[in-house]
């Protein structure tokens, strides 16, 4: 049951993030929405690993079913990638703000002809 709840919450989180991404005009808001949606995908992987009454997948924690360790290993990689992508995009936003003095996406797109 907890697994299903976590999965549904993950989908809701991703939906919320993607809605922000499409709805907001400010590029910082878009990136925030993207980051929330990334959080959703990570929670979803963790939810997939869930087993009823599972213990943490650590050797020596005793008998009984353990949760699936593989998705948790994947989550670590995914978190690092999302972090790196967000950091780079924020550097670009800082650069664009200094050059174009705006964070509004339609404005950034419109003045395409100027260098």
């Amino acid at each position: 049951m907890e697994g299903l709840t976590a999965g549904l919450m993950a989908v809701a989180l991703a939906g919320l993030g993607l809605w922000t991404l499409v709805h907001r005009r400010n590029v910082i808001w878009k990136l925030l929405g993207l980051n929330v949606a990334s959080g959703g995908s990570i929670l979803f992987l963790v939810a997939v690993a869930h087993r009823p009454d599972g213990r943490p997948p650590i050797l020596g924690l005793g008998p009984g079913p353990a949760t699936d360790p593989l998705p948790q290993a994947l989550v670590l990689t995914a978190i690092v990638i999302h972090f790196a992508t967000l950091a780079l995009s924020l550097v670009y936003v800082v650069f664009l703000t200094e050059r174009r003095h705006t964070q509004d996406v339609p404005k950034l797109e419109r003045r395409r002809s100027r260098r």
């Binding site: 991703a14 499409v22 993207l34 979803f44 992987l45 939810a47 998705p71 990638i81 664009l96 050059r99």
Partner: protein, 487 residues
């Protein structure tokens, strides 16, 4: 397998050293040699091997796709290395790393490993597109970043759903399990995997980040992106079509992409954006071939590799032209190109429109032979449109001044000619008079179509970040629903 893994490792090590130590140029050159040595050791292929212990090891396979890419990746890398040789060391380190991710992607048969390789490749591409601090290039890179991240997010959800239902990430194992889509989570997962990879591959509508990103990237980077990195999403789609019954969806995406990209390319005036829209259009051929499967799969592999070479050549020559003149639009470039750029564009156009006997003719006609009749008509229609669209480059073929940056253009042109010679010697069925006649007639008709179409000037809907994002979300709903309904 050890040799191939060592080759990838050497690429990553030399790339990292190049970024850190300031010997990036030397590192890049050594990496090219290491890649060739590694290829020499593992060619002509190897069966599946695992990095790590079963059942969780990462499967690598040296199959035809891997072999075909490994043969031409060093050539493209060498062309880029030579053209950008005056760049600082860190640039070369990043290029080496990026090429390394491509080498890894084509070997991998693991869903999550593919995700990591694709994301690493995207991250390095973002860095390289925005390498020159120009606001337009940085914006192109940022919008690519946002859209590609959305795509890879969907892919990650797909990975989770497929792993949750089948309990494995290995594509070989998934193919053995022969999944059917009666089970809804699996159908949705497979659909999300296809949608995510489609964004990365540059499928029409969801992949329209591509013209700005490729159009604004520095010359060498654009060559690398159009030639190699852009193909990685397509390789992922091909792998998915190999192991899951999603071939029909991939073929449908291919038809849409072929004509959609062409529609935008026909009236585009900016040289580099025009070439980028044609990348999208040509992706259609590849996806149709990969989706159809069977003998068309091998033909599509050949087309993909040939496209690496001639599209790389076109982007290289176009970039040289833009660098030398400072102009970007086709009418203002006419008659002002350095000789190298004019020749490069001419050979690239000759190849891409499929005039015999160059690479485009070889690979397109072979795909037409191997595909079913209905699709060979689609291919002919696309070829007609491609010729019509490329006809507007004709004024550029007359050089306006001698010289120009020859190195990269000569290397890639050599690759195109080499591929054509190999194809004509080894592929069956190409020495037929009716094929040659058909190709030539298509070119003549295409030129006529160009004369007609140049009278019209339709207003196509503008491509904006928000529209593409909405398209991605729409496609990521439609594909899983299609698989649920018909799978």
């Amino acid at each position: 397998m050890t040799a191939a893994a060592a080759g990838v490792l050497a690429y990553f090590l030399l790339g990292t050293l190049g970024v850190v130590t300031g010997k990036g140029r030397l590192g890049g050159a050594l990496a090219i040699v290491a890649g060739l040595v590694s290829l020499g050791l593992w060619a002509p292929g190897f069966p599946e091997g695992l990095i790590g212990d079963p059942p969780w090891g990462i499967p690598l396979v040296g199959d035809t796709i891997a072999l075909a890419f490994w043969c031409f990746i060093p050539l493209v890398h060498a062309a880029v290395w030579w053209h950008e040789r005056r760049r600082p060391s860190a640039f070369h380190g990043l290029v080496t790393l990026l090429v390394g991710t491509c080498l890894a992607t084509v070997l991998s048969r693991d869903l999550f490993n593919l995700y990591v390789a694709l994301e690493l490749g995207s991250l390095l591409s973002f860095l390289l597109i925005g390498y020159d601090p120009r606001a337009r290039a940085v914006w192109g890179s940022l919008q690519y970043l946002i859209l590609a991240t959305v795509g890879m997010l969907l892919y990650l959800f797909g990975v989770a759903l497929v792993y949750g239902t089948l309990g494995t990430l290995s594509l070989t194992r998934i193919a053995e399990l022969a999944p059917d889509f009666a089970h809804p989570p699996l159908a949705i997962g497979a659909g999300l995997l296809v949608a995510g990879a489609a964004v990365k591959a540059g499928v029409f509508l969801v992949g329209l980040w591509l013209p700005t990103a490729y159009g604004e990237a520095p010359t060498g980077v654009a060559t690398l992106l159009a030639g190699l990195v852009g193909k990685m999403g397509i390789v992922t789609l091909a792998r998915l079509a190999e192991s899951m019954p999603v071939g029909t969806v991939v073929t449908a995406l291919g038809v849409l992409t072929g004509f959609g990209g062409l529609l935008y390319a026909l009236w585009e005036k900016d040289l580099k954006r025009f070439l980028a829209y044609h990348v999208i259009s040509q992706i259609g051929y590849m996806l149709m071939g990969f989706g159809l499967g069977g003998p068309a799969f091998f033909a599509a592999t050949l087309y993909t590799v040939a496209h690496c070479l001639f599209k790389g050549l076109l982007f290289q020559a176009g970039g040289v032209a833009v660098e030398a003149t400072g102009e970007r639009t086709i009418p203002s470039l006419a008659g002002r190109l350095p000789r190298a750029a004019a020749w490069g564009l001419a050979v690239g156009t000759w190849a891409i429109v499929g005039i015999p006997p160059l690479a485009g003719f070889v690979s397109k006609e072979y795909l037409g032979i191997e595909a079913t009749t209905a699709f060979s008509w689609t291919f002919t229609a696309l070829a007609l449109g491609t010729t019509a669209s490329f006809s507007k480059l004709i004024p550029l073929f007359r050089p306006g001044r001698p010289g120009g940056a020859w190195g990269g253009i000569a290397l890639l042109a050599f690759g195109v000619v080499g591929f054509s010679a190999w194809g004509l010697a080894r592929l069956p069925g190409l020495w037929a008079a009716d094929l040659w006649a058909k190709a030539l007639i298509t070119v003549v008709l295409g030129y006529g179509l160009f004369r007609i179409l140049s009278k019209f000037r339709p207003r196509l809907p503008e491509v904006t970040l928000d529209r593409v994002a909405v398209a991605i979300l729409g496609v990521s709903a439609i594909i899983p629903l299609t698989l649920l309904a018909f799978g």
